[in-house]
């Protein structure tokens, strides 16, 4: 275990040790198979729930562990140890983006119906915002919900939705006024069931192979009144609020993945010989590894600083945005360098590194792209 780094305490390091052991025993040995299957089994959620890992930050009254975001942060970082970005993403979507809005904005009844079974691993959640015609420009979404007796009827299409096939409920952003946008978007909790008018199809991707990223079509899908999440027409600010934790979680995941990748690559460079000495004995490689370690360190510092501010209750929009922008690009670049140091082996499926590089490519796109991060920073910095 590493020495203590704020904001983490002894208790967090104890949790880290526990989570790491659990992941290395229960998940990592299967990761390769799940990647090849293009699917990890739903039972993974049950296993995580039994260990209390789906409810770290949620109150005990809902079956959670009574911890907070810092405990959750440990999980975000350690999930990188599964060795499957897709598995980590599926778990992450459930705990980091699908359930938090229900916890924060849901009614007691919604918490009982969705949050409690989600923490138990019995219901799997997804967050449905992105559409074929609206990604970065969230305000442009066109899936609409028409008011009917006792609820809404939803029509439209979401895409690139993590857990999209397996999800039992989808926290879905819909237009509830003619104009939609900032003042006409609402969240509905759409529950899967028989004849629900929903069809899903899994998408083939560059990376995250074990996760079921899907397109979800709604055709006259009825959603009951009591499944409106938060205020009518008020979802836009909820979406924006939730982005902060999602981006921190992604930054933490990147830091975790970079750390492991660096360690493994440094070991490879010590073991592999070329021109009569270990690769690390060549200055070009040694310097590259030094730069890479520096990148891991800077990413960790920026992320932990943003995390510390977030947990302290500040509104660290600037720091979170910078951490997201910095870490996602740095992670992909680091993975590419790790791959390079592996030479031909780096290009082979047999080794972990080609997968790590593919998995890392999503970072600068998902959860708000690099360009969008810069747009936010432009605003925050008064440019």
């Amino acid at each position: 275990m590493s020495t203590l780094t704020p904001p983490f305490s002894d208790e967090h390091e104890h949790l880290r040790q526990s989570i790491r052991g659990f992941i290395e025993r229960e998940l990592t040995p299967h990761a390769q198979q799940w990647e090849e299957d293009r699917w990890f089994p739903d039972e993974v959620f049950g296993k995580l729930a039994a260990q209390g890992l789906l409810g770290l930050k949620y109150p005990e009254s809902y079956g959670g562990q009574g911890g907070d975001y810092l405990h959750e942060a440990v999980l975000c970082e350690e999930l990188a140890r599964t060795g499957s970005g897709g598995t980590a993403a599926g778990i992450g979507a459930h705990v980091n983006i699908a359930t938090p809005p229900i916890w924060k904005f849901g009614t007691e009844d919604q918490k009982q119906r969705y949050l409690v079974p989600a923490i138990r691993g019995e219901k799997i959640g997804a967050l449905g915002i992105t559409e074929p015609g609206a990604g970065s420009d969230v305000a442009a979404l066109s899936t609409r919900a028409e008011r009917v007796d006792g609820g809404w009827v939803v029509n439209g299409e979401k895409t690139y939705i993590t857990n999209g096939v397996r999800a039992h409920f989808i926290v879905t952003a819909v237009k509830t006024t003619q104009e939609g946008g900032h003042h006409g978007t609402s969240f509905l909790i759409v529950e899967r069931g028989e004849d629900d008018g929903i069809t899903t199809s899994k998408l083939e991707k560059l990376g995250w192979h074990a996760s079921d990223t899907a397109t979800i079509s709604f055709q006259d899908t009825f959603v009951a009144e009591e499944n409106l999440l938060g205020e009518l027409d008020g979802a836009f600010k909820l979406i924006m609020a939730n982005f902060q934790w999602e981006r921190l979680a992604m930054s933490l995941g990147a830091v975790g993945a970079m750390q492991i990748a660096w360690e493994r690559t440094a070991q490879f460079a010590r073991d592999r010989e070329a021109f009569g000495r270990p690769l690390s004995g060549h200055q070009a490689i040694r310097h590259k590894l030094a730069d890479m370690a520096t990148s891991v360190y800077t990413c960790r510092c920026a992320t932990y600083d943003a995390l510390r501010r977030f947990v302290a209750g500040e509104d660290p929009l600037r720091e979170v945005t910078m951490a997201k922008l910095l870490t996602q690009r740095a992670s992909f670049e680091l993975m590419d360098q790790c791959l390079q140091i592996h030479g031909g082996a780096g290009y082979m499926r047999e080794y972990w590194v080609e997968r790590a590089a593919r998995d890392a490519r999503l970072g600068p796109i998902g959860g708000g792209s690099d360009e969008i991060m810069r747009e936010i920073l432009g605003r925050v910095l008064g440019l």
Binding site: M1, H14, G66
Partner: protein, 263 residues
């Protein structure tokens, strides 16, 4: 039934172990952890408790060690022990195996356990003997390398790892059992258990509290004295046989073994 589990704080597995030549003791600076072998003993206690064959009133984690050993006790109670006892006293520092076993036995006497469990070895000292020493002082029967344990009213039916296969042994309680790591897969503590650990009672005691005879413990009073250490001789480079033609390779290996009268 009351079960006491002996636990120890050891250098983390990732830390390279070395003897400090100025003291002759292991250098215990750096990252520390609960001795991984002890987690199997705690798990064994938990399985007896949860198994329900006999009611278990209490599982108590017991350690002797410096102040920092509190962290090992927190880990032990996060894995299910109900409370812990920490014997910490400058008088016991530097004790050898015999002195440590004596001090632990005195500490255990205060608790009057029906069963004492411990790991087969510590990850640092690796003596494998504390169980036997403790049992001797407590006047209890003792078994080592136990890999299966069933409770039968006032006795235990154990399988003990032997050189070939295993022995089945019945042992009367109270007894001292050191468990092998094949006995179970220890659980990982949940966050709730980790946060709850600091709230469980921890009894810090001194050598005097445990009525330990100070002339029998500590570095000065230990029979085993460290004199010198040297690194093991470097192994001669082995012979590598490249496998080009497997039939030929096998022949080469057989010839090599034959030459040394190993087959």
């Amino acid at each position: 039934m009351k079960i006491c589990v002996l636990v120890k704080e050891v250098p983390d597995a990732a830390v390279e172990k070395r003897i400090d030549p100025s003291t002759g003791r292991m250098d215990r600076s750096g990252e520390k952890n609960l001795n991984p072998y002890d987690t199997h003993a705690i798990e064994a206690a938990m399985q007896i408790k949860e198994g329900g064959a006999v009611p278990v009133e209490e599982i108590v984690a017991v350690t002797m060690g410096p102040d920092s050993a509190v962290r090992a006790l927190h880990k032990a109670v996060s894995l299910g022990a109900d409370r812990s006892v920490h014997l910490s006293d400058p008088a016991v520092a530097g004790s050898d195996v015999a002195a440590t076993g004596y001090a632990l036995a005195k500490t255990l006497q205060r608790e009057s356990p029906d069963l004492v469990l411990l790991g087969q070895q510590s990850d640092d000292g690796e003596c494998y003997t504390i169980g036997a020493v403790v049992a001797e002082h407590l006047g209890m029967p003792s078994l080592t390398q136990v890999i299966k344990m069933d409770v039968e009213s006032d006795a235990l039916r154990c399988e003990r790892q032997a050189e070939y296969g295993y022995d089945t042994v019945q042992i009367k309680l109270p007894a001292v059992i050191s468990v092998g790591d094949a006995i179970n897969e220890p659980r990982y503590p949940s966050l709730k258990a980790i946060m709850g650990a600091k709230k469980k009672p921890l009894d810090a005691i001194t050598a005097a509290d445990a009525e330990i005879d100070a002339s029998k413990v500590g570095g000065e009073n230990s029979a085993a004295q460290w004199i010198a250490a040297k690194a093991p001789p470097a192994k001669a480079a082995g012979e590598i046989i490249e496998d080009e033609d497997t039939g030929e390779t096998v022949e080469k290996i057989i010839a090599w073994l034959d030459e040394r009268k190993l087959i």
